[in-house]
């Protein structure tokens, strides 16, 4: 059911947040209490709901049904530093994609341009990274 799906998603977010917090703990020499990690993962989960709604709205506004990096950039417009970071990362992604496409072309002409599923996920992961 849907409830179970949400619980599993929350658990996955909690796990990742825990890993990120551990990294910060080592880096900054501080400790996170269990409650603060739980709070951060709860905040992240809710923030994702807001992100998803806004991205959907931006894509629909541009008369698209697929969320693109342009929508993600629009999402990050509120903070200048975040926008800079996201723009830089999306440029990196774009150039990586180009390289991969060229490799594919060289390898064979049979496989037609499939979209890399990593693009949107990567953008999501980056925003998660920023939340730490």
């Amino acid at each position: 059911g849907r409830g179970r799906c949400v619980t599993r998603l929350k658990a996955a977010v909690h796990y990742t947040v825990g890993c990120l917090c551990e990294e910060v703990e080592e880096d900054k020499d501080v400790q996170f209490s269990k409650q603060s990690i739980a709070a951060i993962s709860d905040i992240t989960f809710r923030q994702c709901e807001i992100f998803a709604k806004d991205l959907e709205m931006f894509a629909r506004h541009a008369k698209r049904t697929t969320v693109t990096t342009e929508d993600v950039k629009l999402l990050a417009r509120r903070s200048n530093s975040l926008l800079k970071y996201i723009t830089q990362k999306s440029e990196e992604l774009a150039s990586n994609n180009m390289e991969q496409k060229e490799k594919k072309k060289k390898k064979s002409s049979t496989a037609k341009g499939e979209r890399t599923p990593g693009e949107q996920e990567a953008a999501g992961v980056q925003s998660l990274h920023l939340l730490k």
Partner: protein, 118 residues
């Protein structure tokens, strides 16, 4: 010497009136100066955002849809609070007539499309 042309801005008296209407308490002169500065910044931010949203939709003219996206991002328009309700609540009748489509005789709807020019 010639005076430099002043930047267009919302009249002070109007800002004061609106702010007093909602604050419902006396305000010091300094506080009002800050409010004035804030509203200036608000319009700067607003026009930047509208530009981004309009460009995003591949247009050069700001349309009502851009304003709605903006107001959703501001948290003013939500699923429970549609734009039309806000218009009905806060705008005087003559503006309401311009913004909310009304079906008239002959199966015509006016206005057909709302545009904002800057």
């Amino acid at each position: 010497s010639q005076k430099e042309p002043r930047e267009p801005q919302v009249p002070r008296s109007l800002i004061k009136e609106i702010f007093r209407h909602f604050a419902k308490m006396p305000m010091t002169r300094d506080a009002f100066k800050i409010v004035e500065k804030c509203s200036e910044r608000y319009f700067q931010q607003l026009s930047n955002d509208l530009e981004a949203y309009t460009h995003h939709a591949g247009r050069k003219t700001v349309e009502a849809a851009d304003l709605e996206v903006l107001m959703r991002r501001q948290g003013l328009v939500t699923d429970k609070m549609p734009l039309n309700v806000l218009i009905e609540r806060y705008l005087p009748l003559e503006y309401r007539k311009l913004l909310i489509p009304v079906a008239v005789s002959g199966n015509k709807v006016i206005p057909r499309k709302i545009m904002f020019f800057f």
